[in-house]
Amino acid sequence: MPIKTDAVGKEWPGSTYQVGREKIKEYANALGIDNPVHHDVEAAHAVGFRDVVAPPMFAVVYSSPAVAPAILDPEVELNFAAMVHGGQEFVWDEPACSGDEITTSSKCLSIEEKDGKGFYVFETNSVNQDGAQVARGTWTLIVRGV
């Protein structure tokens, strides 16, 4: 049975994430990132950030909630149980700081079958409360045995 591609181009509305100091600290600690700009507001102010700033890959924390409705959408028909995360790209603009409200929307860029595997590519676009671009993500999810 050929892979279903009806959802290509489909978009899902934004979900909003409020960035907090303790969450940034928790993420930085899990990765062993000890730069004080991620832990201490005065250190962040001293180098020009408006508050404690998130490490770039904190993008996962604020943007992944927008991926869930896309991969669970029945129209996408993605077999979640056989899925692996095959590739990821982020492009960053404005840094994410504590206090920011970041809204992320998602879109299905492509669905293709190659060597019996399904390649599902989604894009997320994250903007902050001022409308500034924060990050854009490209998520490649691979499903075995489609």
């Binding site: 890959m57 982020f90 492009v91």
Partner: protein, 130 residues
């Protein structure tokens, strides 16, 4: 650090995630997929044990590249990776990188994260503004 040339190495990053790291990363990231935090379930679905989150390994790649800018989180402009081998807790991860192009203050670094012979992250391309 702005004087980087093609072929220069990123400072090598070595990390051994402890047994409970996947739990802490799950909490930090919000990804509680049981294959990362439930050893029994992971084995039941054919994995050697509970495995590391691919995005954790990608986070280490980002951290290694940030070292080129003394950890400045504004330096990393783009990071694109392929996740391949499965990472496991309690084994050392080594992240290495080589500058593959340098144009003024923009550098592109080719990075690999590996556990022994297993590449966890490959074809990682990091673009930094220094």
């Amino acid at each position: 650090m702005a004087d980087l040339n093609v072929g220069d190495q990123v400072p090598e990053l070595r990390v051994t995630p402890d047994k409970y790291l996947p739990h802490r990363y799950a909490g930090a990231s919000g990804d509680f997929n049981p294959i990362h935090i439930d050893d029994e379930l992971a084995k039941a679905v054919g994995l050697p044990r509970n495995i590391l989150h691919g995005l954790y390994s990608m986070g280490l790649v980002a951290k290694a590249n940030a070292a080129l800018a003394d950890g400045d989180p504004r330096a990393l402009k783009r990071l694109s990776v392929q996740m391949r081998g499965m990472g496991v807790p309690e084994q050392e991860i080594v992240v290495t990188g080589t500058v593959k192009s340098a144009d003024g203050n923009r550098v592109v670094v080719d990075t690999v994260a590996a556990q022994g012979e297993t590449a966890l992250i490959k074809n990682a391309e990091a673009e930094l503004e220094l």
